[in-house]
Amino acid sequence: MSMESIKKFIQKVGWPRIIIGIFLFSLFIAAPFVKVRVSTSISDTLIRFGMNGVMVLAMVPMVQSGCGLNFGLPLGIISGLLGAVLTIELGATGFPAFLLAMAITTPFAILFGFGYGNLLNRVKGNEMVIATYVGFSSVAFMCMMWLLMPLKSPTMVWGYSGEGLRTTISTEGFYLHVLNDFLAVRIGEKFFVPTGMIIFLVLMCLLIWFFFHTKTGTAMTAVGSNPDFARAAGISVDKMRVISVIMSTWLGGIGILVYQQSFGFIQLYMGPFYMAFPAVAAILIGGASVHRATIYNVLIGTFLFQGILTMTPSVMNSIINTDMSEVIRIIVSNGMILYALTRVSHAGSRG
């Protein structure tokens, strides 16, 4: 391979992905030497990839319409949590329970997304800062609501008082692993592929890919690319932005449902608080910018980011005998966000 083609490859893939890819690859290579099973590691990586993929996908519509990265993901997650607790209250079980949770999530997501979108339309240019506050404050607000909600299901309420929802609620007996186990592949005791969950992620990606090939999707991309151009072409810029925010919010809600069915627990109260940052970091690692994000960025980014999160605790800790996983997670995710945001101001200063 000539110097020129190597340069082109690096330019196309981007340094962050190459560095993180090499790092992840070396972790897999190192794993057997520190007695970490590669098969388990790959399974874990795939499971976490499937669990987080949809929430990362929730970044795409807002980025494409020019609303920036969806730091308000917790708002979408809350709509998913509402779907989840109401489904359990209704006592549905199995796969229908998952569908019911999706169905209940939808109206909440539309309602929240509509409000959130209109708010963002009033603060054009500062979307990401405001979005962060929307996420944080909605979590705080819901901390009160979870206590006050008149739900009665014994699996959810505090045992001693009989009212108010618990901080964690098990999905066991409801929709635990309904996607994970669908068409799952098991080889031996340790290797497991959550086929159903991966299929679900692919379906969601296809849905979004499909949307961006329609007339409305094209208009949304144009709004993000140049709002003045879009307006001159007769597009209602604000309406497109609100639609994108509703989509992102809905994907956030569906994303948390997928997460719960695999993880096994619904985490209320402060659970959604920091959920936005890993998702933001993942899509940025995948090569998205604040102005442009593709399905490819989602898939690559989620895989690399979750791969590192899976491999560092097991491999790195065995190598250096201290728990470095949290430190590395924080450095990678926040470092990536910082890196991407500095790239924005660089582009801005060039006009």
Binding site: T218, S225, F229, A232, A233, G234
Partner: protein
């Protein structure tokens, strides 16, 4: 001893990723000489100046070939600072001044004269105070060197455009070692009288031994100011002559590489229908800097109607207001129907289309491919280039049809590009303008607004753009309303011309009227048709 030229370029070549932009460019410039550098947009002028100035973009893209000799020594500047240090100054097309600072402060920015005070002992030289008197003297010296009248204490944001330009040049002159000054289209933003002063000032500089490279599209300036002219075309020098041995026509011909026929008005053979197709009644538009106060006129079917006037008088507000981009009021009737104001999609659907004067801001999706740029408006307003799926429930974008449409316009308008998937940002100004026209034609409008169609594009592209507008008017029967600051352009293309002054029409005359008549109207000597008492 024979005198060595101040600057000598020897066989400069440059390519961007295999795309050759400069081929074997060689010329020399003596001390105190003024060299006019002309060429179409995309001919390589800017790249050449970037090489000379050591701009980072050149090194990032693989450097250049050939040699540069400055003051007899071979140089290769690694950054603009090296170039400045060697005595080359450059004034860019866009101003880089600090608005809230006075002329003095801008001229001496980062080279201020300072005084000692005791704090320096503790906090280093950064705590030295400004010696305002000395600064003023130095700034005035630079201004005097330029030979213009400029209030040194005036804040930049309160200055007329011309004075900003002078401030920029004075800043370069203030460097004591300045030997070569590069002026990139310094007169493009100036009025004629301001330009005259600037040209005289540049002439004075040359007399004091400073060499100048003067880049301009205004050829008569080149002829009157420069000692010699270098014409670039497609990255090669096609002509290098003393200005006394050449003429505007010859330079223009060399630039475009084909003989430029005079753009004479072509009289219409057929008589136009008297019933107007567009009636504008007491229109007002709130467009910042281009306010329209009270404008009424009508346009006949198949006509090319010109709107002219000085900058800031409101001519640009008319199309922007009617197309719904700025808040507007009054009444606009098109084909007997009321046109909804403040509703861009309603206007588009009624059969009007607009080529904006703000090409990069409004006209294009710079980061998207050409086919999107061309097809987008049509697709969104007319549902063409859409494949209905599931019985029309889903409107699927027909990428193949979009690419075909773009290809068709690339061929018919001769858009120079690598293909339908190239991003609009990569095209030169003239080609971007053709993309904007293609976008407007693609909606198959009955009435087309074209705003400043030739602003910032070169002679060759200008003629192509004007030809295209005329062709679509004659062959497809599109009524055209053209807004332009260039009176001659309007006169050569339009049937009638309205002149706007202070947001009102000061007169509407046939294009065959003498230029002086229109000049008087622009200066406000006409009978205002729609203002009662002023």
């Amino acid at each position: 001893m024979e005198s060595t030229p101040l600057l000598e370029l020897r066989s400069i070549t440059k390519d961007f990723f295999g795309n050759q932009v400069l081929t074997d460019v060689s010329f020399s410039l003596d001390k105190g000489q003024i060299l006019g550098l002309v060429g179409e947009n995309g001919a390589g002028k800017t790249t050449l100046m970037k090489i000379l100035f050591g701009m980072g973009v050149i090194h990032d893209t693989g450097g250049y070939g050939g040699k540069i000799l400055f003051d007899g020594k071979e140089v290769s500047f690694q950054s603009p600072f090296d170039a400045l240090g060697a005595g080359i100054g450059m004034v860019h097309q866009e101003f880089s001044l600090i608005p809230g600072f006075s002329a003095i402060e801008n001229i001496l920015l980062n080279r201020e004269s300072t005084r000692y005070n005791p704090l320096v002992e503790v906090f280093d030289d950064r705590m030295r105070t400004l010696d305002r008197d000395l600064m003023k003297t130095r700034a005035l010296e630079a201004i005097e060197l330029l030979g213009v009248k400029l209030d040194a204490d005036m804040l930049v944001n309160e200055m007329p455009v011309g004075h900003k330009q002078f401030t920029e040049i004075a800043r370069e002159l203030e460097r004591k070692n300045i030997k070569l000054l590069v002026l990139d289209e310094p007169t493009a933003v100036l009025t004629e009288s301001e330009a005259d002063v600037l040209i005289e000032a540049v002439g004075n500089l040359a007399k004091r031994g400073i060499s100048v490279i003067f880049i301009s599209h205004r050829l008569h300036e080149i002829i009157s100011l420069c000692d010699k002219v270098v014409v670039l075309r497609d990255g090669q020098i096609v002509e290098e002559k003393k200005t006394t041995d050449t003429s505007v026509e010859e330079i223009a011909e060399a630039m475009v590489g084909r003989s430029l026929e005079g753009y004479e008005p072509i009289a219409r053979s057929e008589k136009l229908d008297e019933e107007p197709v567009l009636v504008v009644d007491h229109l007002w538009v709130d467009m910042p800097g281009e306010t329209v106060r009270d404008v009424s006129f009508d346009v006949k079917p198949g006509e090319i109607f010109g709107i002219g006037g000085l900058a800031g008088q409101g001519k640009l507000g008319i199309p922007n207001g009617i197309m719904g981009l700025y808040k507007a009021g009054g009444r606009v009737r098109f084909e007997g129907q009321d046109v909804p104001l403040n509703d861009p999609s309603g206007v588009l659907m009624s059969g009007m289309s607009f080529v904006s004067e703000d090409r990069r801001g409004v006209g294009l999706l710079l980061e998207e491919p050409l086919d999107w740029n061309i097809a987008f408006t049509t697709m969104q307003t007319q549902n063409r280039y859409i494949k209905p799926l599931l019985g029309g429930l889903i409107k699927w974008r027909d990428d193949k049809a979009i690419a075909e449409l773009a290809q068709e316009y690339i061929e018919s308008l001769q858009i120079r590009c690598t293909g339908t998937q190239q991003n609009a940002v990569e095209l030169s100004g003239g080609n971007q303008q053709k993309v904007c026209l293609a976008k407007a034609f693609a909606v198959k409008p009955k009435l087309l607004f074209v705003s400043e169609p030739t602003r910032g594009i070169d002679v060759g592209a200008k003629k192509l753009v004007l030809d295209t507008i005329r062709r679509y008017n004659r062959e497809n029967g599109i009524t055209v309303i053209m807004v332009s600051s260039e009176l001659e352009e309007l006169r050569s293309l339009c049937d009638r011309i309205a002149i706007i002054d202070e947001g009102r029409i000061s007169g509407i005359k046939p294009a065959t009227e003498k230029s002086t008549e229109f000049g008087l109207l622009m200066l406000g000597y006409g009978n205002r048709t729609s203002s009662e008492g002023k």
